[in-house]
């Protein structure tokens, strides 16, 4: 009943073939095994693998040039920022399918305030974050109170947010796409660039750093892991699981609003459909990074590398000149491989 599946293939250098001693007890692991079983290993290996792939095949076409590097890093940063709260929520055992629609809603709010009404760019930002808080609270409240799967709850809020955003956009401006130019400090915070490196990279590093610290080094992070590992156990142990989930749903919505504002002010155009793909690519980044879909396990550092992997692939294909079907196929295969590899590594971590 105890130790799970059969021995993983590549064993460590010193662990004996016979795994269980008489009491089913554990054994010391070699340093190598310790490294391999870290939750972020899969993500790091994936990122390295795809980087080498495109470096070899597309290095001369520009993938390795400063512009090429900036391109995939920018892509990784946008996705990476969104993936962090998605990952934290996933570790807690829940999903937020409304993040895509929230990005679009934040975008259109900023577009209406800054573009259509010509107000100070920070006012639109303020309203976008207020809307995010409202949506996050709604998601959290519904999930915690109704005990319905968050998949269902956030699916419905996704439709509501999209419909609401579209209705407001058409109602006020007659369009679903609005020009929005930020100036001054707002332009710097959300859209500054050095050469072609977006300020999104800075934000990503900060957000990832803080999040990793919270997950690994604080009691709250421990509570997140426990909530996802086993809700009943966590609750019985005294973890305030409802509060944990509420906070995490707020984080995903606010994260989505941040990404929405950033992308809107960067391209200087607001659109209701902005960010629709993040539901999928965000989860992909998490899974490639070694997160368990059912929660309770994984490292945010892995998610960082998962986002990097996705960024490298989704940019690299254009240096190769592949058409879009091949791109989708590649990402799908990559996801499958990453899931399998991470599952294997996890078995290994559980002691074969």
């Amino acid at each position: 009943m105890t130790n799970t599946q059969s021995a993983a293939a590549g064993s460590s250098s010193e662990a004996p073939a016979n795994t269980k001693s008489d009491d089913g007890a554990t054994r010391r692991r070699s340093v190598f095994a310790g490294l391999i079983t870290r939750p972020e290993t899969g993500g790091i290996l994936s990122a390295l693998a795809v980087f080498l792939f495109f470096a070899v095949l597309a290095g001369k076409s520009g993938f390795l040039s400063p512009l090429g590097t900036a391109y995939w890093l920018d892509t990784a940063a946008d996705l990476g920022i969104m993936a962090i709260p998605i990952a934290m929520l996933m570790i807690a055992g829940e999903f937020d399918l409304s993040v895509g629609s929230m990005v679009g809603a934040a975008s259109i709010i900023v577009g209406i305030c800054t573009g259509y009404f010509g107000l100070d760019p920070w006012i639109g930002v303020g309203f976008a974050f207020l809307a995010a808080v409202a949506v996050g609270l709604l998601n959290g409240f519904l999930v915690v109170r109704t005990k319905l799967p968050s998949f269902i709850v956030t699916l419905s809020t996704m439709f509501m947010v999209t419909g609401g955003a579209l209705g407001i956009s058409i109602g006020i401006t007659g369009s679903s796409s609005i020009s929005a130019v930020a100036t001054g400090s707002a332009n710097f915070v959300f859209a500054a660039k050095w050469y072609e490196f977006n300020i999104a990279l800075v934000h990503w590093i900060i957000i990832a750093g803080v999040a990793i610290w919270v997950m690994q080094r604080t009691p709250f992070g421990n509570w997140i892991y426990a909530t996802g590992g086993s809700l009943d156990t966590a609750r019985l142990a005294g973890v305030p699981t409802n509060r944990v989930k509420m906070i995490l749903f707020l984080c995903t919505s606010i994260g989505a609003a941040f990404v929405g504002v950033m992308e809107t002010y960067t391209f200087q155009n607001a659109s209701v459909t902005l960010g629709a793909q993040y539901v999928f690519s965000g989860i992909a980044a998490c899974v490639i990074g070694g997160l368990l879909l059912t929660g309770g396990y994984g490292s945010l550092l892995g998610t960082v590398f998962g986002a990097m992997t996705y960024g490298i692939v989704s940019m690299g294909v254009f240096f190769l000149g592949w058409n879009s079907e091949l791109t989708d196929l590649f990402i799908g295969l990559l996801l499958l491989l990453a899931v399998l590899a991470n599952a294997r590594l996890r078995q290994f971590a559980m002691g074969r």
Binding site: M1, D22, R217, A226, G229, D232, G238
Partner: protein, 268 residues
């Protein structure tokens, strides 16, 4: 006789017209193991829930250290020293031993925004707790609980409860899903904690396990106490028979042998 750590006096509980427990009294002293026996539906779970603050009795008293107490929640019961160790949902397999041990009571160091989890201290506490229960094979507090054997996981749960001040441990079917070797580990654990002066309420279906650690036995049937005795009072064979249904089972068997099928009506 020492004051029992915890005592149920004349406890009754009904749910919407169904009498789950009727006028049940039992008590446990420090260093004593009380085995609560009975078939499914006998009312054992309800008694446990009352004991651990999950439910409140419809009538009767819960006494802790001789004083009437009103337990309003499991957390309250835990604060008073009554801790439950569950069968399946005791520990988190994907978490490390250290983190599991200190969950919801994590030691921290530093102040303000730099207040962080003291993972080294957590590891120290966890390993020390396990060692006190005689588990010496776990050396790395960072290893995942899923790599521990079933017996070691129970030890972890028990050590955690003891560390947070449990004086009464309620073990709900701890050996039900374990093999022979692992069950032996758990029974050894119960012996160990008993020697440390902890009271144990042990719920089980397995008469052999009950007999090997129990000091006092309470058999429940249809919400009432049908037998209460010390180990010294009865031999193992009789205990098993009592658990299995005793006289009623005998009469059912003989009726079946005599070829008479149908419900046993003789009140037992």
């Amino acid at each position: 006789m020492a004051t029992p750590i915890v005592e149920l006096r004349g406890i009754s509980k009904h749910f919407q017209g169904v009498q789950a427990v009727n006028d049940l009294s039992l008590s446990v002293e420090a260093g004593q193991v009380l085995c609560l026996l009975g078939e499914n539906g006998a009312g054992k779970s309800t008694v446990i829930k009352i004991l651990t603050g999950v439910e409140r009795p419809s009538s009767g008293d819960v006494l802790i250290d001789g004083e009437v107490s009103h337990l309003v929640s499991p957390r309250h019961a835990r604060e008073r020293g009554i801790a439950t160790v569950y069968q399946e949902i005791g520990t988190l397999p994907l978490m490390s031993v250290a983190r599991n041990f200190v969950l919801a009571a994590e030691p921290t160091k530093g102040r303000g925004p730099f207040r962080r989890l003291d993972i080294e201290e957590a590891g120290r506490i966890a390993l020390a707790g396990l060692r006190e229960l005689g588990i010496s094979r776990v050396h790395d507090a960072g290893q995942l609980v899923g790599t521990l054997s079933g017996g070691e996981r129970q030890a972890l749960a028990i050590a955690r409860a003891l560390h947070f001040g449990a004086r009464v441990l309620v073990l709900d079917e701890p050996t039900a899903a374990l093999g022979v070797r692992e069950s032996a580990t758990v029974l050894k654990l119960i012996h160990t904690v008993r020697q440390r002066g902890v009271a144990v309420v042990f719920i089980t279906h397995n008469a052999y396990h009950a007999y090997s650690v129990g000091d006092h036995f309470v058999v429940m049937r249809r919400g009432e106490m049908s037998a209460s005795f010390d180990k010294a009072d009865k031999p193992i064979g009789e205990v098993i028979e009592l658990m299995a249904g005793g006289a009623e089972l005998r009469s059912l068997l003989s009726a079946a042998e005599a070829g008479v099928m149908g419900p046993a009506t003789a009140g037992v």
